[in-house]
């Protein structure tokens, strides 16, 4: 098995462009564009960051209204945010749960979380960010 020991990967022709070949070999993609740029798991009830990547801080603005400050700026505010909301392990919810962003910038994202049509806080709220970094 071959192994590369390195701290930084940088494109040779273009610093921000490293190409990877698909599993089946039929396609190539730019590695940087495929990577999740930030992710976070939050305890919203007693606001705590359980784990994260490239999130500088969180702000609990009001019930169910949270602000995430991103460590690295995106090139624009058209980045993709996906996520899921959950209870503590071992408990369950039978009503619709979802989040919705209401204010977003290249370096911050604010969202509301809901439960069955009303604002709610969740024990395990996970969000992921993909897009192009500056």
């Amino acid at each position: 098995m071959s192994e590369i020991k390195v701290d930084t990967l940088t494109g040779k022709t273009t610093a921000g462009n490293i190409t990877v070949t698909s599993e089946g070999g039929a396609a190539t993609m730019q590695l940087q564009q495929t990577l999740v740029k930030s992710w976070i798991t939050i305890e919203q009830v007693a606001p705590t960051v359980l784990d994260s990547l490239a999130i500088t801080s969180i702000v609990d603005n009001s019930t169910g209204d949270m602000e995430l400050n991103l460590t690295n700026n995106f090139t624009n505010d058209d980045y993709v945010v996906t996520g899921a909301l959950g209870n503590d392990n071992g408990s369950k919810s039978t009503s619709p749960t979802y989040f919705r962003g209401h204010t977003w910038q290249t370096n911050a994202y604010k969202f509301m979380s809901f439960y069955s049509g009303g604002v709610a806080e969740w024990n395990n709220t996970s969000l992921q960010f993909v897009g192009d970094l500056a």
Binding site: K5, A27, T34, A84, P96, R100, T103, G117, D132
Partner: protein, 142 residues
């Protein structure tokens, strides 16, 4: 000529090592941010050839490069209007995948496309167009 490395593993001096299969298999294979109101418009994307408007709250995302199978993972989310604090949850968008706009009827994904249905959160059966919707795909490409 661009440089090329063929390796099974990469190792950082302090952050640990990782088999390169996780880089390839763990990377997103497609993502899209689109405006679903009026004429559907893609704001930014990766490996998305087009978004098709199939009706109110009902869209198809077509891939540039096909997946190896139809068992890929799809996640998503919706935003409201930027800098507009929500006055209530009723205008939120509940986003679901592999369904028709007459959800919960299932629409089988293919290796080249899948469907997105957005409904009102307080009335799950009512589809709605939404200004900001996002989807993210993980799985294997052909």
């Amino acid at each position: 000529m661009a440089g090329k490395l063929i390796a099974d593993q990469i190792e950082h001096s302090t952050a640990g090592s990782l088999d390169t299969q996780y880089v390839v298999q763990g990377s997103a294979k497609a993502w899209v941010n689109f405006n679903g109101i009026g004429t559907v418009a893609v704001r930014d994307s990766l490996n998305a050839s087009s978004i098709q408007d199939n009706g109110t709250g009902y869209y198809s995302l077509n891939f540039l490069s096909s997946t190896a199978n139809i068992n890929y993972s799809v996640s998503g989310g919706t935003n409201g209007t930027n800098n507009s604090f929500p006055t209530g949850a009723s205008t939120s968008g509940d986003i679901r995948f592999h369904t028709s706009n007459a959800s919960p009827y299932k629409v089988q994904p293919t290796t080249s496309a899948f469907t997105i249905t957005v409904s009102q959160d307080l009335n799950m059966g009512v589809p709605m167009d939404i200004e900001w919707a996002s989807a993210n795909i993980h799985g294997e490409l052909a």
